[in-house]
């Protein structure tokens, strides 16, 4: 019998992704998608336990096997890179998920990994109208260009665009500032954006109202400075935050935004030219603390699962993560115990949720199924193959059926 618990059996880089700060070294490996799935899972479990609200968030890697430029160039075959896991996921949700085609809308947050980069796309799907918002804290062209491009190409059964408009949150028009300034925290921003966006029921309506009219390409743009406060509170630039407080009346909704002393600070060394002395720069380090809270939740959640259950979450296909019925999970007791107790992450998050508007169950309809310990142990009665070490988790029977 497998006596491993929690993260013990998973790959080391995934363990690090759940337990350590993101490595700023430019040669560090990419933040693993498996770790991101565990962060999302931790938050899903926390919400379920805290107030029964649901987080319909999926994590997808877009074209991990996309052909290299050289291969593409040699073959002169653009179709070689046509398969798009991200577009396929959205098409599948819309095509197969009944709640994406009802009168009332369904919200889904998709965290997309493209090579080293993470972006969040928030979808609101219904029978009559489908809208999407692209949130890329660093304004990386992979998020700002490739994802809208994929979204714009999706069509419905009448060969009409699936998304009549695509809203993109862009750097501030007059100074280019955006929430993420460094080169390594995009996973943290993506996770935070998915979670915070899901709490704002009127996000799509609000942003469309304040965005520019769509251009000829159906894109609407809105500055980060006009975004809701919970989406910018972790911005790394103090100038950005000061400007936000000055220009956005909604800044008052978040006390930490108006009380500069509350920001955690970090000093980094900038060096703009070979041979020139480095310069000290002070940045807001709130995003590291936000990530740490999600990591603590994920770690605590994992501790109550067997390692094979954890590995199943790590390797979960995004299609399987959407729209499955909620299954009982073994973590609820932990959070009940911790409510008001000694687990700072749960406490902070619970307070934040209490201050947020009430959960919108009509929008966040379903949470993904999670294998509880019982299920995992059944799986473990079969011999563990070496492939498990590669994070290829056994698939539950009902999930196999769904995949077909």
């Amino acid at each position: 019998m497998d006596s491993h618990r929690g993260l013990e059996g998973v790959r080391e880089d995934i363990q690090d992704g759940v337990t350590k700060p993101i490595d700023p070294n430019p040669n560090a490996p990419n933040y693993p998608i498996g770790a991101m799935r565990l962060l999302v899972h931790g938050e899903q479990q926390r919400r379920l336990t805290a107030d029964g609200s649901l987080l319909n968030c999926v994590v997808v890697e877009r074209n991990p096997d996309i052909k290299s430029y050289d291969a593409f160039s040699a073959q002169k075959d653009p179709a070689a890179s046509d398969y798009d896991a991200f577009a396929e996921l959205i098409a599948k949700i819309k095509r197969e998920h009944p709640e994406a085609n009802m009168e009332t809308s369904m919200r889904v947050q998709v965290i997309v990994k493209q090579a080293a980069h993470y972006t969040t796309v928030d979808l609101e799907l219904s029978r009559d109208n489908n809208t999407c918002i692209v949130l890329d804290a660093g304004a990386d062209p992979r998020g700002m260009t490739k994802l809208p491009m994929a979204l714009s190409k999706l069509t419905n059964s009448d060969n009409q665009p699936l998304f009549s408009e695509i809203t993109i949150i862009r750097p501030n028009q007059d100074d280019g500032r955006r929430p993420q300034n460094d080169l390594h925290n995009c996973p943290a921003f993506s996770m935070a954006h998915a979670c915070e966006a899901s709490k704002i029921a009127s996000l799509h309506r609000d942003l469309v109202n304040s965005a520019t009219p769509p251009n000829g390409l159906r894109y609407r743009f809105i500055d980060w400075r006009d975004a809701p406060p919970s989406l910018v509170k972790d911005a790394q630039s103090f100038t950005f935050l000061k400007d936000y407080v000055k220009t956005n009346v909604r800044a008052a909704e978040l006390p930490e935004l108006t009380d500069g002393a509350a920001y955690p600070q970090k000093v980094i060394m900038a060096n703009k030219k070979k041979g020139e002395p480095e310069k000290k720069i002070t940045v807001n380090d709130a995003v590291s603390q936000t990530l740490k809270r999600y990591q603590q939740q994920a770690e605590m959640t994992c501790k109550l699962l067997t390692s094979s259950a954890v590995m199943e979450i790590v390797a979960r296909s995004p299609e399987a993560s959407v729209g499955l019925a909620v299954s009982p999970v073994s973590t609820s007791r932990m959070y009940q115990t911790l409510a008001g107790g000694s687990f700072p992450a749960a406490k902070d998050m619970a307070r934040a949720d209490a201050e947020a508007p009430p959960p919108r169950r009509t929008l966040q309809r379903k949470a993904p199924a999670v294998p509880n310990d019982g299920v995992s142990q059944q799986v473990q009665t079969s011999p563990l193959s070496s492939s498990l070490k590669e994070n290829v988790a056994p698939v539950e029977p009902e999930r196999r059926a769904l995949k077909r």
Binding site: T145, M149, R178, L183, N215, F221, K273
Partner: protein
């Protein structure tokens, strides 16, 4: 003063319109599409910026819009201007105590896109391209490597580092999108 007549251009590549970071609605406020005229406008904005004693980004932003317009309608020279303006913008922000590494990283991606577009079509007769990248006369790749290294330094990256390769790879991906037009995907 004699002013050359503008030549109305078409977008340079089938997929360039999707480079939405460049295709901001404000870009359409720039009506000019002629490459030489846009180049003059950028130079004028930079002159204004140099003369200004204020920390005012207006001229720089207008120069960015012209560069974006040029990138959409003429490809390589607009992307080179965009890269140069980004380097200037990073320096200005650094002087104010900010280090906008992501802005520089994104420009590294566009620089790679420019390199690939230029590799595909070197435009030997394009005098604007030749003026903008004089180092190319020395070696075939000298310009791109030197420019990449200078920009990478500004965002804390060094040649050969994985993140720099990541930017190159993202630029290659954009290139594929820009030169090809894949079909719509029905659901």
């Amino acid at each position: 003063m004699f002013r050359k007549k503008s030549v109305v251009a078409e977008p340079a590549y089938p997929g360039i319109e999707f480079v939405s970071t460049l295709y901001d609605p404000l870009v359409s406020t720039i009506k000019e599409t002629d490459a030489e005229q846009l180049n003059s406008m950028i130079k004028e904005k930079l002159r204004q910026l140099g003369e200004s004693k204020e920390v005012d980004n207006t001229a720089l932003n207008e120069a960015f819009l012209c560069a974006q317009k040029m990138a959409i309608y003429h490809g390589v020279p607009g992307l080179i201007h965009y890269t140069n303006l980004t380097m200037l913008s990073i320096d200005r922000q650094l002087a104010e105590g900010e280090w906008n590494q992501t802005q520089g990283f994104n420009a590294l991606i566009y620089l790679r896109l420019a390199e690939r577009l230029h590799e595909q079509n070197p435009e030997p007769d394009n005098r604007l391209v030749q003026r903008l990248m004089p180092d190319e006369r020395i070696t075939a790749t000298g310009y791109w490597d030197q420019k990449r290294e200078a920009l990478a330094w500004k965002v804390g990256l060094r040649p050969g580092e994985a993140r720099l390769e990541d930017a190159n790879s993202a630029g290659d991906g954009l290139f594929q999108d820009v030169i090809s037009e894949s079909p719509k995907q029905a659901i």
